[in-house]
């Protein structure tokens, strides 16, 4: 896939505190790229640099192949940044707010009419367009904020904690909107603390801790155990079968087979990936007369991957 954001050895220091210490990663076009890290990891600083609000102190950052310092104006036209706070003109109506930003980005009125109708429909705010923003709930304000970001049709969306403070319904609806945006061809770079939602939404992820990248790559690569020497699989049989279980336990390379759960004949197998092919396990089970209902690799939960990669405690 074609890279859209390329960050190389990015460093940023606030007085004596190093917020970013040599951060490098790539975001691919038309992907949803999650950006995860504990508080104070440097996520917001990275997003502010990407959105041209902060100048990088060292390292290089290019968006759409353009350097964000030298081509700031061109980059700004193609990105939409939603900060982690509700920075809105609360005394405006929803329509006035989106209309204002449309005009500020240079759209003529006819264009604006169409775009505003589209973005308000996408964010499901068209029924509330004449309401004052100050009277809207937090979830609705977040939708208006997203509509504002979309009004100039940016190719890249930078979203800083868009789901924070939202109720479960509003969060799920926001994620649905983001998936719809991906289908429309947008690239989304999203920072969030809600890992479960990122795991299902994002195809790529970068984990940042204490200003350093701990992981960057595909989401499946992070949560699968491909890198690990010991594989974890689940074998589900039609009925409990001690003979088959015993035969599998004898296979060379099998390190552990857990007893079946009391409620279902489900076995967890741990074996050395290089020594024992999965087909051998299946053949052994079938050869002993067991009826196989399911067999799949166990993925780590993103929470676990996050905990494994980041250090405990507060950053000094």
């Amino acid at each position: 896939m074609e890279p859209l954001i390329q960050i190389e050895n990015l460093r940023h220091i606030y007085k004596t505190h190093a917020a970013l210490s040599g951060v490098s990663f790539t975001v691919h076009r038309q992907s949803i790229h999650g950006f995860v890290g504990p508080n104070g990891a440097g996520k917001t600083t990275t997003l502010k640099i990407l959105s041209t609000l902060l100048q990088p102190q060292s390292g290089s950052v290019s968006v759409f192949g353009q350097d964000i310092v030298r081509n700031r104006k061109q980059v700004r036209r193609k990105i939409g940044f939603m900060p982690d706070h509700f920075s809105m003109y609360r005394q405006m109506t929803v329509f006035e707010y989106v209309d204002f930003f449309g005009a500020a980005y240079g759209l003529v009125q006819a264009e604006r009419d169409k775009v505003i109708a589209d973005v308000l429909a996408l964010t499901d705010m068209d029924g509330r367009k004449n309401d004052l923003i100050s009277g809207l709930s937090r979830g609705m304000q977040q939708r208006v904020s997203l509509a504002r970001v979309l009004v100039h049709d940016p190719d890249l969306l930078l979203l800083d904690e868009p789901a924070s403070g939202l109720d479960p319904r509003a969060r799920i609806e926001l994620m649905e909107i983001l998936e719809e945006l991906r289908r429309l061809g947008k690239t989304i770079f999203i920072s969030s603390h809600i890992l479960s939602e990122l795991a299902t939404l994002c195809d790529h992820v970068t984990i940042l801790d204490r200003g350093k990248v701990k992981y960057t790559g595909s989401m499946s690569g992070l949560i699968s155990n491909e890198q690990s020497e010991v594989a974890t699989y689940t074998l589900i049989l039609a009925a409990e079968h001690p003979e088959a279980a015993s035969a599998i336990a004898q296979l060379p390379g099998m390190t552990r087979i857990s007893p079946p759960l009391p409620t279902s004949p489900r076995y967890t197998l741990n074996f050395e990936r290089g020594k024992l092919p999965v087909n051998t396990i299946l053949q052994t089970a079938l050869g002993n007369g067991a009826q196989i209902v399911g067999f799949h690799e166990e993925f780590k939960h993103l929470n676990q991957a996050f905990m494994d990669l980041t250090e405990p405690g507060v950053r000094p």
């Binding site: 502010k48 959105s51 041209t52 609000l53 902060l54 104006k73 061109q74 700004r76 036209r77 990105i79 940044f81 900060p83 706070h85 509700f86 920075s87 809105m88 003109y89 609360r90 005394q91 405006m92 109506t93 006035e96 209309d99 204002f100 930003f101 449309g102 005009a103 500020a104 980005y105 240079g106 003529v108 009125q109 604006r112 004449n130 004052l132 100050s134 504002r148």
Partner: protein, 534 residues
Amino acid sequence: MNALLALFNRSLRQDSRAKSTYWARAGLVSLICVMMITTRLSMGWIGAPGLQFFATVISTNYLFISLAGLSFFSSAITEEKEEMTLGLLRMTNLNPLSILLGKSTSRLFSGLLLLAVQLPFTLLAISFGGISLVQILASYCALMAYVIFLSNLALFASVVSARTAGAAILTGFLLVLFLFGHYFTLGILSVLHWMGMIRFSTPGTILQAFLNGWKILLPSTRFEEVLSTGFSGSLLSPQIYGNLALGLLFFAIAWASFDFFCRDEKDSTPRRFLFRPGPKTVGIASAFRIFNAGRAWKAALIWKDFHFLAGGKLTVFIKLLLYLLLPYGGILLANGNGTLQLDEYGYTYLWSMVVVFFAELVVMAGRIFRQERRWQTLSSLAMLPISIRRLAYQKVLGCLVGCWPTFLIFLGGCLLLLMANWADAVLWWSNPNRDILHSLALQLDWRGVGAFVGVVALVLFFLHLVVDLSLRFKWGALPLAIGITWLLNMIALPFSIYSMGEASFVAIPLALIAATIFLHFRIGLRLEKIAGEE
């Protein structure tokens, strides 16, 4: 008792730990020292230098205390309302009295301490001659009573208002009423008398006595009395008793009304006029729609700041009416017999609009970026594909669009002047030997040009200073800018003229222009920094 004074103790402790407290005291003492040096230098050519020096100190204090009333004191409760933390304070053991004591009385103590710290230095005025110990102590007593009155007046405004700006406006209004109300009342009475609606008989005498009593309460009246040659009266006076009583009264009202005004947490979003016609709205009522903001203009930032910072069409309409009527009312008050000539009307409208325009600019300068900062909207604006400087200029233009009633009435004043002098103008224009440049050259010399440029540069410097300070301080930018500019006028300008002579007509405007350019770039950098920090 502990709960009652908990917040008060905490505020005093915080003040004593804050560096700004000591910087303010050191700054004040340094200022007094500069004034002393200036007095010492001019001892040869002014009479009663000690009195002159002390009068300057007292008038500086008087000005700064009045300005503090509009900012430092009036934000005591509203800052908690704006931060939505007043509810949290009320959920604790703190009752309204302890909140008032903690938030306002601690500030009053800081103010009184600032006065106390000056006393040993100002006592040196006695050695300059022309002033006695009693005069100095009596003046400070009068000032302290005034501080107590003003802080409690501002506290009342802060309790009643939802926002700091509202509290400052209410404090300013009540203060102007207190300081100048008796003049207005006298003016209104003379107009009514001229119109034959009242006669000055017995009730008039009672009214006169009331107005005289009011005047006695003013610190300025007391200073006039105390700083007159040979004063040897008491340290205490009706002004002190009156100011203390009024202060106590305002504190009591603030306390009594605290629950009523601060019971509910209110949204501090700036208010706006938004007319929404219902299905049954017809006729004239639906015409109010014209005052709505409507669609964004191509110049979107100008549209936004005109409608949402300068007040929009309705405010412009109200301003137009007010600016037409108020100078006319002033003319009536000042000249009860109403026999003014056309050119006098012209001058009144022209000059009053100059003053109004300056006042509008000052208010806008204080708010233009403060609102963006408060609502953290600078980052959204900074993301627009225009430079931060262009963004700032468009915002300024938006505010200027809101000033068109001022321009219109100013032009009306010019027109009245032209009409009044039409015959002279026609005569001059029909003269075949007229030479505009020669006429101008006759009326202007380089010092005049220098002074004019200096005044314009001073205004620009002042406006930039207000903007710059509004980006640094949460409140009080405008009073602080007024104070700094006033000090510059009091100390730096006379000193420059004294040391440089006629060259100061060039040096001062140049220095002001340089300072303005410096502030201009500093504002740009500051805006970029704030946008990045949000």
